[in-house]
């Protein structure tokens, strides 16, 4: 094994990328674009969901529980009340009119308070206080659930406001409460969850794509033939490429880390170097996989057909945007065979939980074995050509 021959391949590969300014810019800007786009798209909470309110509540003794709930809804950034029909101005026909707005897509939901809302609530509270049975009081919501996230946000917000009003205005404290203590991820937001995923995804996409196209190019231009008649061994050649693309992965990950910290203030509780080591191993492994698959392609056009086959399962089943727990049982075994799964899991644990090598060594070992196996198989594939 000659280090100088291996490094000659690494230097050549990096020089090619440097000269190709568009590709070099792509390598840096693509992860930046990805993290910024994902961050701004998914990073924020749902807000300004258009809803209507029909408040028929007549109140009791000059107070209205419905008014208190509506005030709470108005104070929530999640909801935007586009039509409100208050007591006196509201009538039953407006219930149908607001439902029509939901049906026409002008609003996501309409929230309806019945005429005796406060009176019924007072009666129910009184019954509860005296240990008597009582019918619960309903807030009616007609909601468009074509987008479950939005529907859940409307229902959750209204439920939360009702509970707050019950506690603050009627001193009705629920007898059972869940006491929450966050072991990890205190104050964590959604972007903190998916930034490690995007980082792995970007490194994986680019190294795999560059690798598969580079090797097909080496074959089709016969530079590979020329190289393999020199004293370099197949292992040294593959190793040189692996080092080059591993470094590319590191640069990309650094761009994502810095961008995510500067733009979205994501926390990195654990060691950034451990994060980069995870990415390096993933990039080396994906480079090897790209090399292997390139031997099945006769042209660059055929090579890029492998991209969706590898990328889609990784995007959907590796836990990048959704937890693995949401992957159906039938598909879960596939997740276990996707290297990105382990990279995302390890980096999430390092960045959010602050775990060290003693906690993520299993994921690191799996990624290292994957990288090693891919390098061995790539070397074997090269030798097999003869």
């Amino acid at each position: 094994m000659s280090l100088s021959r291996t490094l000659a391949v690494t230097r050549k590969t990096l020089r090619s990328l440097r000269h190709d300014r568009r590709t070099a810019a792509f390598l840096v800007l693509m992860p930046l674009f990805m993290i910024a786009l994902f961050g701004y798209t998914f990073g924020g909470d749902l807000k300004d969901i258009k809803v209507c309110v029909v408040n028929l509540d007549q109140g009791l003794n000059g107070t209205s529980a419905a008014n208190a709930v509506v005030a709470g809804m108005r104070g929530s950034p999640t909801l935007d009340i586009i039509a409100y029909y208050g007591p006196g101005a509201a009538n039953v026909s407006q219930v149908d009119a607001t439902i029509a707005k939901v049906q026409k897509g002008e609003a996501w939901a309409t929230v309806i308070f019945a005429r005796n809302f406060t009176a019924d609530a007072a009666q129910a509270i009184s019954a509860l206080q005296h240990g008597l049975q009582s019918n619960s009081v309903q807030v009616r919501i007609e909601v468009d659930s074509s987008n479950p996230n939005i529907a859940d946000a409307v229902l959750g917000t209204v439920t939360g406001v009702v509970q707050t009003v019950m506690v603050q205005n009627y001193h009705l404290i629920p007898p059972i409460q869940v006491s929450e203590h966050r072991v990890y991820g205190q104050g964590a937001q959604f972007i903190d969850f998916f930034a490690p995923g995007v980082m792995g995804l970007a490194a994986m996409m680019v190294t795999f794509m560059l690798s598969i196209i580079s090797f097909v190019h080496e074959r089709s231009t016969f530079t590979l033939d020329r190289v393999l008649t020199s004293p370099i061994t197949e292992g040294e050649f593959v190793g040189g490429y692996a080092l080059a693309f591993g470094l590319v992965g590191l640069v990309q990950s650094s761009v994502i880390l810095v961008t995510a910290v500067l733009l979205f203030n994501i926390p990195i509780v654990g060691s950034p170097f451990l994060v980069l080591l995870v990415i390096f191993l993933l990039a080396v492994g994906m480079q090897g996989l790209g090399f292997l698959l390139s031997s099945l392609a006769k042209s660059e056009f055929q090579a890029i057909q492998f991209l969706p086959i590898i990328l889609f399962p990784s995007i959907l089943l590796a836990g990048v945007f959704w937890p693995l727990e949401s992957v159906p049982d039938v598909l879960r075994p596939i997740s276990n065979f996707i290297p990105l799964t382990y990279a995302v899991d390890a980096n999430r644990s390092i960045m959010i939980r602050g775990w060290g090598i003693d906690n993520v060594w299993v994921q690191l070992l799996i990624l290292a074995l994957f990288a090693f196996a891919m390098l061995l198989l790539s070397t074997w594939a090269l030798k097999r050509r003869k």
Binding site: S2, S4, R5, L7, A8, V9, R11, K12, R15, S16, H19, D20, T221, F222, T223, D225, R226, V227, L228, T229, S230, P231, I232, R385, K386
Partner: protein, 243 residues
């Protein structure tokens, strides 16, 4: 094994599926010879060269270069290979290509700098050392490709169709250069399907359907067939073989 031979093959055979590319090839090429393997496309020249440089494994027979059985290990630094296509990195400069191929032969810096200057002078690209290969003309790229095969100063040079797609002026220059390499004691084994230019070789091996149908000095091949050029000599040997 003859110590004076640069290349020896015995009963070399290689097929791809049903197609027999090389069919019992016996060669003995002395050191310091400019040897031309000639024949039409598909006659097995490229396959033979690829076996000799270790890119293909023969199905039968054996081959050796500088006394070592192929595929080479110890003698790899002593051979140079130029594939048929312009196989250099077009997204690197001339210098970067030479440095890369020099690096594969672990040339030290001092030796590389000296050799690079010599080679660039020979191929007349001194002024284009830092030019991207993609910006060079076809002829210049051919010269860069040849330079990459020569950068480590090999003793035996395998050139596969080195003059295909090369303009006549450059082609003449290439042949002068091959003669010069030979005069320095190097062995040059090249393939060509341009019979007229193979006349400048010391020895010509004529291949047809994977077999060597004739071998000798160009003039004696023409004399023995009573022909005025190598192309007619080849056709004459082909007809004899067909009978």
């Amino acid at each position: 094994m003859d110590g004076a031979s640069a290349v020896v093959t015995k009963g070399l055979r290689k097929s791809f599926g049903e197609v027999v590319a090389v069919d019992g090839l016996d060669l003995q090429i002395a050191k310091g010879t400019l040897y031309g393997l000639v024949g039409p496309n598909g006659s097995g020249k490229t396959t033979a060269i690829k076996i000799l440089v270790g890119l293909l494994r023969p199905d039968q027979g054996e081959a050796s270069v500088l006394g070592e059985k192929v595929p080479l290990t110890l003698k790899r630094p002593s051979i140079g290979y130029m594939p048929q296509d312009i196989s250099v990195y077009s997204d690197l400069t001339v210098h970067e290509n030479l440095e890369f191929f020099g690096g594969l032969f672990t040339m030290d810096k001092e030796r590389f700098v000296r050799r690079e200057a010599e080679i660039l002078k020979v191929i007349d690209l001194e002024g284009r050392r830092d030019a991207m290969v993609s910006t060079l003309s076809g002829g210049m790229r051919h010269r860069v490709s040849l330079a990459c095969a020569l950068i480590h100063d090999p003793q035996v040079l395998f050139l596969d169709e080195p003059t295909v797609g090369v303009d006549p002026e450059l082609r003449a220059g290439f042949w002068d250069f091959f003669r010069e390499l030979k005069s320095e004691g190097r062995t040059v084994v090249l393939t060509t399907h341009y019979m007229d230019e193979a006349v400048r070789c010391d020895v010509v091996g004529m291949m047809r359907n994977g077999r060597l149908i004739a071998e000798g000095e160009p003039r004696s091949l023409m004399v023995s067939t009573g022909t005025a050029n190598l192309e007619d000599a080849f056709l004459s040997y082909s007809r004899r073989g067909a009978k």
